[in-house]
């Protein structure tokens, strides 16, 4: 009896939150018959958008892993003046409005932008190409990976790293044989989070890359374009995005569970000192 009102408050708040979060998702599937879903997903627009999304996101994820992993390792294992500032910089796209990211990318890599002339001289064409989508996705999705990767590297027992060094392994070998395998669960989770964010990327892409079927039109852009052309098609692509995002997010929770049982995607936002 003593704690019953508190328990009631908890249950009421939780129930309301869940209902609020679920209603829009349920509504998508209620408005859509399985036949319409199948028709929508086999349409040319959806298939082109799926291909563009897959190609650009895979390329973006490759870039994120290739450059994000060393960055995260450096930030996780070295302490130096200005480290907090660098971590903030790495995290910034996480909270930046996508429209601001789009404007920034235009100002930097646009044809009349800061690096536009240099890129043109090098023969690199970005405007309205898949490369523009890849850059936009990489920019907005990378913090999700790097942030989680920093936490994962910080969670590696420093004694193990020290032992590896005393046993004669060089820093590169220690990174490859000790730190990387131990952090693999966290890195996988971070990658899944970055993928989920990249899949939903809209604002920076439409501003920086434009929208053209089969070239730059990703699934999220196709939903927006089809909204007033073919609403059922927009719903069908929306349903696909819901399912894919849910699957990826769930995977992000399962991956670190291989290593540790109590991990959730919250680690992506936990303060950097936490273990």
């Amino acid at each position: 009896m003593r704690s019953s009102s508190f328990a009631a408050a908890l249950v009421a708040a939780a129930a309301l939150s869940l209902v609020f979060l679920l209603i829009p998702i349920v509504a998508i599937f209620v408005e859509l018959s399985p036949g319409e879903l199948a028709d929508g997903l086999t349409s040319q627009v959806a298939r082109d958008a799926l291909r563009v999304t897959a190609e650009t996101n895979l390329a973006a994820l490759a870039l994120i892993v290739l450059f994000g992993t060393p960055t995260a390792y450096l930030l996780a294992t070295r302490s130096f003046r200005g480290r907090a500032l660098l971590v903030t910089l790495v995290e910034l796209p996480l909270v930046l409005p996508p429209a601001v990211a789009g404007i920034g990318l235009l100002a930097a890599f646009g044809r009349l932008g800061l690096l536009g002339g240099t890129l043109e001289a090098l023969g690199i064409e970005i405007a309205f190409t898949k490369l523009a989508v890849v850059l936009a996705v990489t920019y907005v999705a990378s913090p999700f990976y790097v942030r989680t990767a920093i936490a994962a590297f910080e969670a590696v027992d420093p004694d193990l790293v020290a032992a590896s060094r005393t046993l004669g392994a060089g820093p590169a070998r220690t990174f490859g044989r000790v730190a990387l395998p131990l952090a693999a669960g966290g890195l996988g989770a971070g990658l899944a989070l970055a993928f989920a964010r990249g899949l939903g990327e809209f604002g920076a892409t439409i501003m920086f890359a434009g929208s053209f079927q089969g070239v730059t039109q990703t699934l999220s852009l196709a939903v927006y374009q089809e909204f007033d052309v073919d609403f059922d098609l927009a719903l069908a692509i929306g349903a696909l995005l819901v399912l894919a995002s849910a699957l990826i997010l769930f995977a992000a929770k399962l991956i670190p569970a291989w290593k540790r049982s109590n991990s959730t995607s919250i680690t992506a936002f936990a303060p950097s000192g936490s273990r």
Partner: protein, 252 residues
Amino acid sequence: MSRRRVLGAGALAALVATTASALALAAPGGDGRAGARPLVLAAASLAEVLPRITSEASYSFGSSNSLAEQIRRGAPFDVYFSASPLYTQALHREGLARKPVAFATNSLVVIVPRSNPAKIKTIFDLARRPKLKLVVAGPKVPIGLYTREVLKRLGLLRVLKKTVSLEPDVKGIVGKVALGQADAGFVYLTDVAPVATRVRALRVPERAQPTVVYELAIATKPNDVEGAQELVIAVLGPDGRRQLRAARFGLP
């Protein structure tokens, strides 16, 4: 009372209070919609001129067809401004809007960035530049519709093959050209002034100009009847006409 019970009751009260204040934002006249101002859904090309005619309204700008679709899906509105009679007339037929009134006309121009990377001097150059980056809007967006009409009348429809992006509304086209990402785009004459320092406008021959008529329509059941009527009177009245003309709109 035990501390725990106080805490529990406090938490419950906080939940109720927060939910109630959130709902209050949605109530008519609540803070969620800035007082009793009429809610206006308007074509993107009116984004500069309408707030100058009256600031006593809450504006939402987008492509006319997107806005019409939002209205069909139940979006609340008091007055709808369309860049094509197509959408006002359709909403009127469907019983969602009162009888539409024409209030402005417009014409089309081709814009190129000041630096003019594709060296476009006339509209016919669009067909002569194989690597042109052209931005247009989708065939359901009014500006996209008019663009296709112009190109058809000039026998230049093949130019559409050089499209690199289908923009959601006319402001998307203006932005892509003004920032130099695209080589050329079709926009309304009235879109040029705000970006005059960044773009050059090329005329579209008179014989190819489509009839661009803007219509407004009051909702069948507006939330704010008086506000909606005052707004329409302001737009159709002498001040509205002066502002429209200053923004280079034509008058019907």
